[in-house]
Amino acid sequence: MKKSIIAGAIVALLSTSAFAAEDFKIQGATDDLPAGCTFLNLQDGAMEWDESTNSWYTSSDAQIRVKTRDILGLSVATDKALYDAIGAVDDVVEVDYSASTAQGENTRKNVSIATDENLLVITTDAGGNVLNIGVDHGVLASDSFVAEDNTSYWMINTATCTQ
């Protein structure tokens, strides 16, 4: 008798729990948020000289990480000058950004790149994303440029985010 009362109580408890189980959510909504660009990281790259082709190639991409929301655009460009410790040494003939990459951390958004003569443009569909850009450019030096031995050279890249 005692056992059947306990069993009955357990069954009643279980059935009550089953009826009581309901999904619920905690909901929130955002206000009308402004467009925004926040550069999260900038990391210089490296390039190597190829005497046979009179050009520089990127051995390590420059890395740019940008948090964006509804931006108008993001671009990377150089002033087409090659620098050493004293200043500009060469107006290079060509900068080719076509090996650069752009990826969004939000995979639901489309991110694509387009390259112009001296410019890499990253386009995204509307909304928020964190973009990781690997800047890789080939640089063709002018015919008059002669590389000095044991000398550091660099190109200056400007990443512009328009909000």
Partner: protein, 134 residues
């Protein structure tokens, strides 16, 4: 034993993680402002969260962002910010009498980096669209 593993894991994370949050941002973003007078007074806040001191400058470009505009002035040529700091820069933009609207980009540009104020080779530039009208 567990605490040794925890220490090793923490050291590995420290080795991989960047040293602090890094960011360069500017507010406000896009603005459309009524400009009845000859001069419009504005203010932009530049924030430096790179893990090193940085110097920024505020500049006004044409709406394509290619060329510097004329007819504007800032209250400070450059802004030196330590890591995590922000500062407000005041900007005055001229509106000529016969002009009905003016569209420009107001940009904060990374100018120098570090305690030794070196020229950066990768430069961040945050630009806000500004549309003045009357």
């Amino acid at each position: 034993m567990r605490s040794i593993k925890l220490v090793i894991a923490s050291l590995m994370i420290m080795a991989w993680a960047p040293f602090g949050a890094q960011a360069h941002s500017m507010t406000p973003g896009y603005e459309k402002k009524f400009a009845p007078g000859d001069v419009v007074n504005l203010a932009y806040t530049i924030k430096n969260e790179y893990d090193f001191p940085a110097i920024y400058r505020l500049e006004v470009y044409d709406k394509e962002g290619h060329n510097l505009e004329e007819g504007w002035r800032v209250d400070q040529e450059t802004v030196k910010l330590f890591s995590g700091n922000y500062k407000r820069v005041r900007l005055k933009i001229k509106m000529d009498e016969d002009v009905k609207e003016r569209k420009v980009l107001v940009c904060s540009v990374l100018h120098k980096v570090g305690y030794d104020e070196k020229d950066p080779t990768t430069i961040s530039r945050v630009c806000s669209r500004l549309w003045l009208w009357r």
